[in-house]
Structures are given as C-alpha cells and as structure tokens.
C-alpha cells in the first residue's frame, strides 16, 4: 500500500499541542496589550522591535577580540565599519566566518578554496601576522547581504524582506547611522508576545503544521557517528548554517549549527573536532544545561499536528532558529508488551522521532505575511510528498551530498 501523507486532523484534545481545550483558551490567559498604536501588526513602526545596543567594531579589531564579543554577548553577527569613525559598514563578521577561519587555521586543505584572499590569509596565519576580523569577515559563504532599512519602516515592510530568507537588517536613521538590528527572531517574538493585540492573526494560530504545509525538506543531515570536523566542513562548503544530527534510521538526535563553533575555538577543546557529532551534541547540551541550571530537550521539534501558535510559542520560549518536524508517537503499546524501544508510527514505515522536515523562521514569517495578505491556502487534505511552502523565497540553497539529504 503506497505511503500517504494524508493524516486526519486530530480530534482528540489530548493530542493537541497545548493540551487545553483550544488554542484560544490558552491565548486568553493573558490580557491583550494596550500600548500598541495599531491592531494591524504590519502597520506597527519598526522601533517597537528595538531592544539592545548594536555592537559595531572598527576594521582593525583583532579576530580574537571580535570572536570574544560575538560569543560572550550571544550575538549573531557584528558589523564592521569601513573606517574608524565612519558610519558606513564594510562587512559583517559572523559564525560562518569564524568557522571558515578555524578550518583555515587547522590547514584543512581544500582544493576548492582557490580565492586569493584565502591563500593570502593562510600565508599570514602561518607567518604569525596578527589577523583582523575584517580580513576574516569575507571567508564565510552564502552570507546574507548587509541590508539597511529606514527607521520609518513598518513591521510589514520588514516582514517582506525577512520572508525572503534574509535573517536580519540594520535600521538606520536619515544619516545612515545604525540605530538597531531588526531580525527574524525579534519579529516573531514581538508578534507572539503581542498576538492578542492582532485579531487578524488569530485564525492562523489554530491551524496545524500539516494544514499549512509549512516547512521544507531542504536541509542536511549528518549521521551521529561522523566526526565533528566534517560537520563544520559541510556547513562551510554548503553555506548552510545548521545540520540535523540523525541516527542510522533518520531519527533526530539533535542539531549542530555554525554557532556551535564557539565550543571548539579554545585550544583546550580542539580535540572535540575529532570526536563524533553525537558526542559533540552531549558537550553542547551539557554545557548549556549547566549554565542555565536546567537541562533542555535534546532537540526542539514539532509534529504535523502541532498548531502554529504552539510552533511560535516554542520558537520564542527556546530562542531557537528552527524547529524540526518529526514523526509523532502513535498510540502507546500495551504495557509489558514488546521489548523493542521503537514504537511503530501511524504511517507505514515511519518511526517515532524520524525526521520529516524543518521549519525555519523564514517559513513562519512567510506564512504570517501570506495570512495577512489573504494569500494563504485554505486547509485541505494534502496528498503526496511534503514540499516547500515558500515558493516566493529567493534564497535558494546549494545542492548537497545526496547520501545525507532527505
């Protein structure tokens, strides 16, 4: 019997992601915010997203200092000025650059790395010349272009840009001075925190992942037995910022992102590059758990039956950049039955926790925008392979090793 993606909408309230009678009941816990100028989110001025000061560095800042700033302040990227005192931004330094630099320092020779800049930098490293963040900031691949938007923009203007896959933009005043960074994460956090102020979004909140056909199969997996160094090489070569770590049956164990390079940049932890990805996940999670005083789940995921509200809430609560779509458990087996730790999924051949797709912040913003414009397809029974929803996205990914790709 051919495998079908047709799963009925769950009617059992115990299966609903919030565990309450309905999403709106959950949302109704908190009173709607009263300090916003509009009940249409797309008209809210962009300054409502501003939170912390922007860290910008001069072009002569050493790589060590820039890395420390990036890591210790939990930043995603640091703009680099064109010159001291200038407001113009020449480059942006981020984790893809740091990773590329690490591979360079380790003499991971890639015949593909033919650029002059790379070879020159490699030579300087060998000579022991001090290296600046500016020099390193052009090593990373597939980086978002540095974009600015005027401070007069609305969240709607911002969403149009972010829905194409751009992760963050700089908000500038009329003199092109950077006032703040506005990112996908900030937008989603704002919208979720204030969701009760925007009644037009409410119908979207109770839609399921399944009915929205959100998310894509456009990601890379790596087996937990592979070495960490090959994970970073893969991310560097493909320009994709995150890998799903899976077992031999494509069950999700966790994920490794470019950001996790911070766990291997001390020379005392370089040995980790030679350990397995599975081991590395332990290191990352253990470290995070000790810092927070609480351990988190091995991976952050949702099911086809999860609501959009639950998905947004989880992204905001965990501060993650993507959620993995996995096969949910079926009805539990009877007590004292099989000694297999695998529970058969409701879909033939699929195992619990098997990886089905990835939901990015881009996907979520795209859906919110589509809902607002009225272009979101109505819920219908979906038959056939899961596909990518965001047909409007221009940010396409490089093709990857097919032995890993799902």
């Amino acid at each position: 019997m051919p495998h079908s993606n047709l799963t009925p909408e769950p009617t059992d309230t115990r299966r609903q992601s919030f565990g309450m009678a309905s999403v709106s009941e959950f949302l109704a816990q908190c009173p709607p915010p009263t300090n916003l100028p509009s009940n249409k989110w797309q008209d809210i001025p962009i300054r409502f997203l501003f939170d912390k000061d922007v860290a910008i560095v001069d072009p002569d800042t050493p790589i060590e200092e820039a890395s420390a700033l990036l890591i210790d302040n939990d930043l995603s990227s640091i703009p680099i000025r064109a010159a001291k005192g200038s407001d113009d931004i020449a480059r942006v330094f981020d984790y893809s650059d740091l990773t590329a630099f690490l591979l360079l320092v380790l003499h991971i020779d890639d015949a593909k790395e033919a650029t002059d800049a790379y070879r020159k930098l490699s030579q300087e490293v060998q000579n022991g010349t001090p290296i600046t963040a500016y020099q390193v900031a052009e090593l990373g691949k597939n980086k978002d272009p540095f974009m600015t938007v005027p401070a007069t923009s609305t969240l709607g203007d911002l969403a149009e840009i972010l829905a194409t896959g751009i992760r963050r933009v700089a908000v500038v005043d009329e003199n092109r001075k950077i006032l703040s960074i506005a990112s996908q994460r900030q937008l989603i956090r704002f919208l979720w925190t204030n969701v009760r102020a925007f009644p037009a979004l409410e119908p979207l909140m109770s839609r399921t992942i399944h009915s929205l056909d959100i998310g894509s199969s456009d990601f890379i997996c790596i087996n937990g037995d592979k070495k960490v160094i090959s994970a970073f090489r893969q991310m560097h070569e493909t320009g994709i910022g995150s890998l799903a770590v899976v077992d031999s049956q494509y069950r999700l164990l966790g994920n490794i992102s470019l950001v996790d390079v911070k766990y291997v940049t001390r020379s005392s932890s370089i040995y980790l590059l030679n350990r397995t990805c599975g081991h590395f996940l332990s290191v990352i999670k253990s470290e995070q758990g000790i810092r927070a005083g609480k351990d988190s789940a091995p991976a952050f995921n949702v099911y086809e039956s999860s609501t959009f509200a639950f998905t947004m809430a989880k992204v905001v609560a965990t501060q993650c950049h993507r959620l993995w779509l996995v096969q949910s458990p079926s009805c539990p087996p009877s007590p004292k039955s099989s000694n297999s730790h695998l529970m058969p999924g409701s879909n033939a051949g699929l195992k619990v926790n098997q990886l089905l797709g990835m939901i990015s912040l881009t996907d979520m913003i795209y859906v919110i925008l589509a809902q607002t414009k009225g272009t979101l397809p109505q819920p219908t029974a979906r038959i056939g392979r899961r596909g990518s929803t965001s047909s409007g996205r221009s940010h396409s990914k490089v093709s990857m090793d097919s032995s890993y790709r799902r």
Binding site: R14, S17, G19, M20, F26, Q29, C30, I63, E64, S67, A68, F101, V105, L106, V125, L253, T265, R266, S267, S268, Y271, N274, R275, G278, H279, L281, S282, K285, S286, G289, I290, A292, G293, K294, D295, S296, A297, P298, A299, F300, N301, Y303, S306, F310, A313, K314, V316, A317, T318, Q319, C320, S328, P329, P332, P335, K336, N339, H341, M343, V352
Partner: protein, 314 residues
C-alpha cells in the same frame, strides 16, 4: 536466586556488575514496579531526595546523613542518571534497595529516565564505556518505563519530578494515564517530568527547555485547592543552596547533587518530613573523593587525536 545484600555491598564498592545480573534485576524490578499506581500513596516519616545524576559518592553520603534504608523511608524524585560518572552504580543501588525493601523505597521517574535524554546527557556513553555495548543501557531504559510518576505523602503533599501540566487539573487524571512507555516531549506525562515553576508569571507558558511548561502561582493555587493538597515537592532545577521554597511556601524544589558536575560548587539537600508534617531541609556539601578538574579533562580527552594547534583563539 539473587543475594541482594551481597549485591548491594558489591555495588557500594563500585564493582562492575555483570550484564546478566542486571538483566535479572531489571526483570524482577519490573514485576514490583508494574503494580504501583501512577500516584503512590506514602506516609511520614519520610525523607525526600532530589536529583542525583550519577554522583554515587554523594548518594552514599545521603544514606549516611538521612540514615540507611530501611531504617529511614525514602522517596526519590528521579534523575538518577546522566552527567555524573557513576550513573550505572547509582541506579543499580537504588533498584536493589527497592527490591530488598519495597515498602521503604519509592522511586519516581525523572525527565532523564528516558532513551532520548540519556543518549544526549551521558548515561548511554557510560554504559557503552563500562560494558562495551548498549545492552545494559537497553535493559535499564526499559526499566525506566515502569517507574511511577508521582506520589502523595499523608494525603497532603504532592510529589513529582518536574511540575504541573495544563492537561492535568486533578490527580485522578494522572491515575488513568498509561505510563509504561518512552514519553514524547509533549503531553501530560512529559509535562509532569519537565515543567518548572516561574515566579515571574501567573499562568502557563511554554518552557525554554523545549518540553513541558513554566507555571505560575495561580496555577499552583488552583491545583492545591482542587485536590485538597497543601504543598508541591519537586526537583528538576539546580539550586545553589540545595533547595528553594516558592509561592509563599506552596512549592519546594529539592536538589541533591552537590557540586553538580564536579564544578558548580552548589550545596545540596534532602527533605526530612516528620509525622507532624514538619519539613526540614538537611543541607550538605559534596562528599570527599570527588574527581579533580584535571581528571575530568583527562577523561574527556582520552580519545583525542594529538593535533598541535597554534593558539589563535582565547
């Protein structure tokens, strides 16, 4: 026939117990545990213990401080494994004590008593390291499926590893759950193991842990009132002072792993409850014979390749 007393002695000396013995222990323990309700009814006097996380020397200290089982009744709130280096010894000792004195020892399930979590946080790796394969891990994680979820002491003190769930307003709802399985990261069973109290909110919010919920004082009030309870006892969160009391003495967190991961320098506690229901947090520090930082680093690097890297980073 297993000689539990002899086995207990050997485990206390950290002797490696054969896989076939562990398989037998698990099989026997399942028979005992399967009869327990999802909410076990217990009586004072009783000593309640929080997370242990494989810190076996500290577990032995707990029995010195609180008194040996069976002369003291014990309720353990879960999280026996992961992180510490002696998770195997820890869980085996507790299982043996459960088999030997079933009325004196109650073991709840924590969020770390799970296949997925133990693969990430160290128990799986420890089993493979000590036994060369994953069989012992399989036996023990199957046993975890049988551990009960909650307890009520003297009909007034509700005990669970994590916290409350938006799906559970009445303790009766816990009784009808099927607990004999690996639990997913969503749903009432997961919530009981993963949730945390949060003094900054009043109701429920999704947890930053990626499983379970954060819950506020209003939720605690409702739960206690609906179920005619006085207090919630739970573990699950690191407390630098060994314990924390919240919400006007309506909820307590007990943490029993001192100097967590051999580096956090925190205190730990066990909660001693007398027959008049008075509660005493007995606070203690780490046991002697802790691994040094040097030993830990050496252990972590034991399979490292010897690459010499220039000191380019901090």
């Amino acid at each position: 026939m297993l000689d539990l007393d002899e086995l207990i002695e050997r485990i206390q000396k950290k002797e490696l117990i054969a896989e076939v013995v562990i398989a037998t222990l698990c099989s026997l323990a399942k028979e005992t545990l399967v009869q327990e309700s999802n909410t076990v009814q217990l009586s004072t006097p009783i000593t309640v213990v929080g997370d242990i996380h494989g810190q076996f020397d500290d577990l032995l200290e707990i029995f010195k401080i609180g008194g040996p089982c069976p002369y003291t009744n014990y309720l353990f709130l879960g999280d026996y494994v992961d992180r510490g280096f002696y998770s195997v010894e820890t869980i085996l000792l507790l299982i043996c004590l459960k088999l030997r004195y079933p009325q004196r020892m109650t073991l709840l399930r924590g969020n770390h008593e799970s296949r997925g979590v133990t693969q990430t946080y160290g128990f799986y790796a420890e089993c493979v390291r000590k036994y060369g394969n994953a069989n012992v891990w399989r036996h023990l994680t199957e046993l975890f499926d049988y551990l009960t979820l909650s307890a009520v002491i003297d009909g007034r003190l509700f005990c669970v590893h994590g916290g409350l769930s938006p799906s559970i307003q009445h303790v009766d709802q816990i009784l009808v759950m099927n607990r004999f399985r690996e639990f997913p990261h969503e749903g009432p069973m997961a919530d009981l193991m993963w949730s945390d109290p949060d003094p900054s909110i009043q109701e429920f919010a999704l947890s930053p842990r990626g499983a379970g919920y954060s819950f506020g004082e209003r939720i605690v009030d409702k739960f206690l009132h609906s179920n005619k309870l006085d207090h919630i006892l739970r573990a699950h969160q690191l407390c630098s002072e060994g314990y924390q009391v919240l919400f006007d003495d309506k909820l307590s967190t007990i943490w029993s792993a001192p100097n967590y991961c051999y580096r956090c320098a925190n205190l730990a506690s066990i909660l001693q409850i007398e027959t008049d229901q008075s509660r005493f947090f007995n606070v203690f520090d780490a046991a002697p014979n802790q691994p040094t930082l040097g030993e830990i680093l050496k252990y972590q690097q034991s399979m490292a390749s010897s690459q010499s890297i220039a000191e380019y980073f901090l």
